[in-house]
């Protein structure tokens, strides 16, 4: 274990080098990434960047959790958390 973490909604989430944000969140037991304007959850679905269902906000930018590799200290939140 490399002991690296990123921040998910204020909490540290561990990850292994090269792991996607989606994989690290799954390991941490996080399955809902937030809700869209219709009240539906953002969640992991296709795993290949096609469905846009796993969007999260990474350091202020909307990104697919399944495509984006976790990096130490990255600030990750729900899409509706807005820019910070």
């Amino acid at each position: 274990m490399s002991g690296q973490t990123f921040v998910w909604k204020g909490k540290d989430v561990p990850f292994r080098s090269g792991e996607s944000i989606a994989a690290a969140l799954e390991a941490a037991g996080v399955f809902s990434f937030g809700t869209d304007t219709f009240g539906q959850d953002f969640r992991y679905f296709c795993g290949i960047g096609a469905c846009q269902g796993c969007l999260v906000r990474v350091d202020g930018l909307l990104r697919e959790a399944c495509l984006t590799v976790a990096r130490p200290g990255m600030r990750v939140g729900s899409p509706e958390d807005g820019h910070d």
Binding site: F38, Q40, R43, G47, I48, A50, Q52, G53, L67, V69
Partner: protein, 456 residues
């Protein structure tokens, strides 16, 4: 550094073979890939320290051959980069997702190799957290070396479900059940025909042995009809021979086949007068899987090289592709769903059809009750079906098929998925800020601005 003449989009097997082939005949090629690693979904690489997720030995050997040949050519790779389309000036638009920067590239040729997407029929609750595609579970296992935790149900149609079940079993958590719409045991003659494809048959038997050894219940001729939240778990209703069975699970993997990921792609071009010349390779041209994708990557590269050099067009598809198509046809017959009722016909009105825009089967029904049946495009513009962020990748087929069922007495041609999605860039969502920042540096000023400058 010499600027690339050809950009290959997608570093799965077809893209990597196409890039290698073009580089070998002397073209300056680059490859762009949305992830940080090569291999595509089929050869998704495990992260550091992850146990290999159990790809079969044959699959591993194929990957090593593709990778070694690719590495030998020293082809530049742009990772974390997505293809947006080809603009009106014939420039290739890509976005570097790490920098949030869009670039416009002048190229002689483009090979589009963006693979396949899974088909998933709607069932009530298919959009809930904890429900993903079965392929989504599979790529996650390849990446992390871990099986999904808890009680997992796999459901839908086709041989991929068995492969995912076997991989889960090898990683220590076999699925709670496998729900299959077809019944391969009911087609013995077709099964015997698979003997002509020994490699495929061997792979299938190995997976089946894992399924039996782990005592995974395989419910054939069965369908998941609904999924609902039940505390932290998911309550699933399964219909089989008119009887309902209920299960409580933590995760669900759905899969009803694969199709080309050809949404919004620029059309292929046939002549060197077109700049850039665009060819498609692999599953985004015809969804036949990894082995055909390799052969098709080489075929597409040869075709592009022929067009660019002005030599005669290569003749059609090669034998490997035809052979895989025959094998896929056999598998489709073997796994043909039991019964004549479309899974779309039994969806309740509350079932979400287009998740991005939260549009339901009932919403489509009210659009289809108009006196004059709407076209696919009208359903998109009036009803927002296929208008959201996935650009119809997971709802356009289902919406078009359901429209055909609802307008069964119409004399019009049944709608196609493409009638709903249209064909335009950007192929992927991109921020307007990134697009406008890219538009300027190489764009000539409009004439009226030049005149104003002269006058001042």
């Amino acid at each position: 550094m010499t600027d690339a003449e050809i950009t290959v989009i997608g570093a799965g097997p077809s893209g990597m073979v196409a890039a290698t082939t073009l580089s070998k005949v002397g073209y300056h090629v680059e490859i762009i890939e949305q992830r940080e690693t090569l291999g595509g979904a089929i050869y998704r690489q495990p992260v550091e320290s992850a146990m290999a997720g159990g790809p079969a030995a044959g699959s591993n050997a194929r990957w090593k051959t593709i990778r070694n040949a690719f590495v030998k050519q020293a082809i530049p790779v742009r990772c974390g980069t997505v293809f947006l389309g080809i603009d009106g000036d014939g420039l290739v638009l890509i976005e570097d997702r790490r920098k949030g920067r869009v670039e416009r590239l002048r190229r002689k040729g483009v090979v589009v190799a963006v693979g396949a997407v899974e088909k998933v029929y709607p069932r009530t609750g298919w959009h809930l957290p904890g429900v993903s595609t079965a392929g989504g579970l599979q790529v996650m296992m390849k990446e992390t070396g871990r099986a999904p935790e808890g009680r997992v149900l796999l459901a839908g149609n086709g041989p991929l479900l068995i492969a995912v079940a076997a991989q889960m079993a090898r990683l220590g958590n076999p699925p709670a059940a496998l729900v299959e719409a077809g019944d391969p045991f009911g087609h013995m003659a077709t099964g015997v025909a698979l003997l002509k494809h020994p490699a495929l048959l061997q792979e299938a038997l190995l997976y089946l042995m894992d399924v039996y050894r782990s005592r995974i219940p395989w419910l054939r001729g069965a369908h998941v009809t609904s999924i609902e939240k039940e505390g932290p778990a998911l309550l699933v209703r399964i219909e089989r021979k008119g009887l309902e069975k209920r299960m409580s699970v933590d995760r669900i993997g759905l899969h009803d086949g694969i199709r080309c990921n050809d949404f919004g792609l620029p059309p292929e071009t046939l002549s060197s007068k077109d700049a850039p010349v665009v060819v498609r390779a692999g599953d985004c041209r015809e969804a036949l899987g990894a082995i055909a994708a390799e052969a098709d990557g080489a075929r597409a590269a040869q075709r592009l090289a022929n067009i660019l050099s002005g030599s005669a067009e290569a003749s059609g598809l090669d034998a490997a592709i035809n052979r895989t198509r025959q094998a896929q046809d056999l598998l489709a017959r073997l796994f043909a769903p039991i019964g004549n009722v479309s899974p779309l016909a039994i969806c309740s009105d509350e079932t979400i059809l287009c998740r991005c825009e939260a549009k339901t089967v009932g919403d489509l029904r009210s659009l289809c009750q108009h006196l004059h049946p709407m076209t696919g495009r009208e359903v998109k513009l009036n009803g927002r079906f296929a208008m959201g962020a996935c650009q119809g990748r997971f709802c356009a087929d289902n919406t078009a098929s359901l429209m055909a069922l609802m307008n069964a007495d119409s004399a019009d041609l049944p709608p196609r998925a493409e009638d709903l999605t249209g064909r335009r860039w950007p192929v992927r969502p991109v921020s307007i800020a990134a697009l406008t920042a890219a538009a300027n540096p190489n764009t000539e000023k409009p004439n009226n601005e030049v005149e104003q400058d002269d006058a001042s």
